[in-house]
Symmetry: C2
Subunit: 413 residues, 2 copies
């Protein structure tokens, strides 16, 4: 009999966002006229930039004629896009990243989920707590965890992020091999500054660890001291892989495009001490199991880097940045403490006393028809928090904040 | 120090098609005026169907307006597409497959590469020889093989396909757990008939094996006795996963869309004998590591199933079918023996005596500026063969066949 990958059986319940969606659907089915506002799943609502629309129309037209038709593209992504990325996202920020260190994909979820494949199963993984579930679940599936006991997986190293430390993790207590860092952070909204990142790069060098740096939310950075790329830190190319996404930057959640950077200087080791290029391994992985991102989509992504495209996506990002400010202020007015919202589309707030994350989720859904994301779904240290996102419209965001304030007030009675 | 996945180090050389492309590029660089005709990498050349173009334009326009904008879609694919697939590709052929057994992806290469993840690392894998390299390489990466010794990987069970048996594999000599079958076959073009597939389904049932049935080329089937889906065979839903692709069916090699079917009846076992649903495991895998296929692309795929779309893609497929016939006839006129070309876009031909596959590849490139794919890249039994594809234009295909005949004749002198 064919056997299943039993690591999957260690996984806890359903994937967090799928559960949130199911709860929302169940509520809508029971209350067909309910006027639900979602600040839950971090999905964008503003339409694509006109420059992106135009570029994709043009690409679709190219596919209609033999002279301009495109079949299989390079597994690593078209050079026109990788060159635009290298220039705008890196060289213009002083980071020397070349196109052959960039791998275009259909999204950062795939990349952050798949990258662990090129590492040894025995490597120890460190994640912050709370954490984006994909980092944990993809490693559980790959056999890098033990059982789930008392709210966390054996063998994973959890780095707790407490309010007292600005929701930033301390260095691990013993040396991990793979360290997942997300900045600006999902879910807490905390952003690592130059000093923080310098500490992590130094630690990785000393211990031979590799940092998986998830910069999916870098477009929301507003403060000067927060690096947009880990390669702004000296020496990071020897120790870090970076993940980027157009999902939030340019509203590509339904279009699907992202990329990762695997520097050529980054070396892994065999058990017997030989050096192996991470770039070469990832290239082989992508060439074998991936066939490149849709040509039409890559032309859309390229258009983001034009002058027009930049103006347009910044205008949309401003809407979300304003929403984040409105939420943060509203939450504070409601008497709850909160983090994020400044360099991040996420506001991370402590739930009213005596409630769990899921209880507050249910309360907000039933009392105010607001969808949030329960903090406990992001890890044990997320218990007592929920995450609100700034991706809804300004009108609905304001409305949601009013409802939230009212609902919290009602609790106090 | 972080360690690499040492299974990757067992991999042999570069990915076959990447090597072919590199050789082609090197030749073009050395001979800038060379008039190369590629019958090598199986990439399409005809533009997309007008119905697909129209649907994708419409979808792009929807993304330009807030009222019709789409963000994250279901990880399994939109229901509109899964319902069209269930009806047209299965119910209309008498196969009872429901939308929740269908998972839309960005291509069959990803699906055939990733599906092994939900199986135990210790499961024995059987592949035909010659074989599409992704089946082998993805299992080598996952640790299901030993070292590469004398042309094949230890621990994998190779099922040789000889000319004498119509390039069809016999049943394994001992019981494997996972069996990869591709019909119509890449690279040989051989197609399994009802009797063949009934034998495989029966064998899988008896041994508790699971068949990975790759039907990426089903659109090329012309003979009545060749099943388009393995689910046309009774009982197959208990033992088979099927992979489909729009790459060759509708020219989607650069658009990127495919799907797989994981029937709810298909059960895997834990080591202690508990039953686990393969459908549930794959759903969890996709929800965790994949974020759905581009909305624009899914609307394009949906349009294939309209009356207009069907007419248009059949007209394009007829071009390729004709090319296959032209190649097959030309190859026979050249005095070489060949398989395929009838239910398949591939013609598999034996190379002139005394030459290896790569030698004939180099000879055709240098002598006739034709790109083929060396059979030995598909496995030890592929030595002595090359694969020609019918995806070029009718004019260039005819021209290539004339050149090939001349080049072969020259060898005889």
């Amino acid at each position: 009999m064919a056997h299943c990958n039993e690591n999957y059986l260690n996984l806890q319940g359903a994937y967090l966002f799928a559960t949130v969606r199911q709860k929302q659907n169940a509520y809508v089915e029971a209350h067909p006229n309910a006027d639900i506002i979602s600040l839950g799943i971090g999905d964008v609502t503003q339409p694509l930039a006109p420059a992106v629309i135009e570029a994709m129309h043009k690409a679709v037209d190219e596919m209609a004629h033999m002279e301009t038709f495109r079949g299989y593209g390079p597994e690593q992504g078209y050079l026109f896009l990788r060159e635009a990325i290298a220039k705008h996202d890196f060289k213009d920020r002083g980071c020397d990243i070349s196109p052959d260190e960039i791998f275009v994909s259909d999204g950062a979820k795939c990349d952050t989920g798949n990258m662990q494949e090129i590492f040894a199963e025995s490597d120890v993984v460190a994640v912050t707590d709370p954490v984006y579930p994909v980092y944990v679940d993809s490693n559980v599936m790959a056999g890098r965890s033990g059982k789930f006991v008392n709210g966390s997986y054996e063998r994973l190293e959890y780095l707790p992020c407490y309010k007292e430390c600005g929701f930033k993790a301390n260095l691990p207590s013993h040396d991990p091999m793979i360290i997942y860092l997300c900045s600006p952070n999902n879910p807490t909204g905390a952003a690592l500054n130059k000093k923080d990142l310098t500490m992590w790069v130094k630690y990785a060098k000393q211990t031979g660890s590799v940092i998986f740096f998830d910069a999916a939310y870098e477009a929301f950075i507003t403060e000067d001291d927060i690096p947009h790329s880990i390669y702004e830190i000296e020496g990071a190319k020897k120790v870090a892989i970076e993940f980027r996404s157009y999902s939030k930057t340019a509203g590509f959640t339904g279009v699907r495009c992202g990329y990762c950077v695997v520097p050529k200087e980054l070396m892994l080791e065999t058990k017997s001490g030989e050096k192996v290029s991470a770039n070469a391994l990832w290239d082989r992985r992508q060439c074998t199991k991936f066939n490149g991102c849709s040509y039409i989509v890559q032309r859309g992504a390229e258009a983001i880097y034009t002058e027009e495209g930049q103006k347009e996506i910044q205008a949309t990002l401003d809407i979300y940045r304003n929403n984040a400010r409105v939420i943060l202020e509203g939450v504070k007015e409601a008497g709850l403490t909160a983090c994020g919202g400044v360099n991040s589309p996420y506001v991370w707030l402590s739930v009213p006393k005596g409630m769990t994350s899921w209880e507050f989720f249910d309360y907000l859904l039933n009392e105010a028809q607001i969808i949030c994301t329960p903090g406990s779904g992001f890890g044990p240290c997320g218990e007592g928090y929920v995450r609100l996102t700034s991706f809804n419209t300004p009108e609905l965001t304001k409305e949601a904040v009013e409802r939230l304030k009212k609902a919290v007030k009602k609790l106090e009675k």
